[in-house]
Amino acid sequence: MKLKPPITLAWTRFTSCSGCQLMLLNCESSLAELAQVVALREFPLATSTECKDEEIDVGLVEGSITTPSELERLLALRRKVNLLVAVGACALTGGVNSLVRGERRQAMTEVYAGQADEWNTFPPQGIEHFVKVDGQIPGCPPEQGELLNSIGALLHGGWPGHQVMPVCMECRINENPCLLERDCAPCLGPITLAGCNARCPSLGVPCEGCRGVVAEANRDELRRLFITAGLTEQDIRHRLERFGEAP
């Protein structure tokens, strides 16, 4: 469905660092152009315009869901937007917030003592656990180009093609030396969804997998490589679970 500009857009933020919002706000040179084609109905970091109840073309969601009130807001948003897009690792899989998973009850009690119930939170989860999601923009943080491309594609009634290759391939295209081979570094490039043009490995920094796991990832081979590189089982688990890959 081709949308007629200006399309109405609401950016809703749940439990997160605001980084995804900031990445859009950081597209400084495109903001004026963006303002021509997009009518911002909600963007808490940048505007005091309040989102009134109306039909909205696109809802962009940042952050994970951790409280009943967040869940209520998410459900209300789903009802009024035509397309719902999950932006960033937290909205996709829960992100680093969910690392307390499993021990959360204990952590909450330790931290909040008698008030633990009052906070009324549950383990952080991606939004797809609760509502239908029409599009995903991965990353922690997402790439600016990908954010703008996606909004541009929406304007033309489409959605950018789905990425199928791992970061590892982008490293090869860029002719980077392999950090796993050269430095025995715990690089997650072999199993991580491409689209960042191998941003970190190109700088000599091992991939931490912030874009999530690619389809048909060869996890067993990666595990074997990591063990050969000298990582312990626990190190591997911690490395893999950082962005939602359950060990």
Binding site: G19, N26, L34, T47, S48, V111, W119, L203, E208
Partner: protein, 421 residues
Amino acid sequence: MTRLVVDPLTRVEGHGRVELLLKEGGLHEVKVRLLESPRLFESLVVGRRYDEVPDLVCRICAICSAAHKLTALQALENLMAIRVPPLAATLRELLLLGGHLQSHALHLFCLILPDLCDTPDLLVLLQRKDPLAEAGIKLKAFGNRLQEVVGGRVVHPVNPVFGGVSYFPCRQDIETLLKELLHWQTCWPDLCTQFLQLGNYPEARPVIGNALATGLQESFALNGESLFYGKEQLISSSGYKELLGERAREDSHAKDSNGQSGPFLTGALARARLAADRKLRFDTPAEAFGIHGNNLAQASEIGWTLQRLGQLLEILLEADPAEPLRKTLKQVNGGVGTAATEAPRGLLIHHYVVDEWGKVVAADIVTPTAINQRVMAAQIMADLADEKDHERLCKGAERIVRAYDPCISCAVHLVRVEHSS
């Protein structure tokens, strides 16, 4: 009794709320509540390897991700008695200052300027082709580019690693940055004038709170081994717990700082009061602006930052990229480490306890907004004491909170509620 609620506070980072209680038409009580969902950062790092901590805690907040990462690294390096090579220290300082530039420009031009122009947001100003808004976001973009060149990524930088940094940026990028820097050094004073007009701000009372900052006389706070407060009082950074006496509040998801010498004020205005080289670079007396003087102080700091960035970029151009960038650790040592940094919004403290195997046992993070939380409510109370109009009360309260440049995501990484028996 009437209760006015400003929720959510907009054009601030994170989810906050102000509650104003009115009695007989006048302001009776103010509550500033930081309502982010707790993210338990201090407990999620427990049990993990020390070198994983900086990557995780920088995700507390996007705007301050460089400051969080660098402070965590420094606390852990202090803990293991490692000093990073000089070139790595230069690159780190550049990254931190790039963050300051970006954050101050974001606050002044994206969050405050719409108030001064009476518009709901920056986009309206950009559509009007407002020259100040356009220049402001270009300055912000410059801060971002600095962070990207030096840190590898605008948000959640990857270059700083335990013991130093991973790579030396490309020389061509440094030259381009330096060229652009000269442009900003020339036009910076013109960008500030709008923020120096007293008439642009609401009437304000004197600023509440004892100014608090790291030892700024050394370099830019990266070596903040001491804390300054009041006139000339000085303590070691590791003594922060006693000084701040942090305790949790039942009505807010952020810890509250209330030491005996407090309440404290931290941020650009506090730095301007404490550090000789941060004196405001304008003739305008900041006192009349009250807490809105923080905007002046940030504008002034942009000038200081641009100057210091020039020195640092020159150092890089003369440096030998083959110089060591990173020290490796021969053996993991357990212990206790603390570091204090001036983040854009003020004093940031990271404190870790690590065991002999390199696993984190305990973590404590004190953020500027948590420190400022107490004075915020008091300042609203003081500034708006005579205001009766409900709309002006709500707007006024929101503008006061905004003046602190609060970062609520940061403040709410964790709350500890004390057992009240």
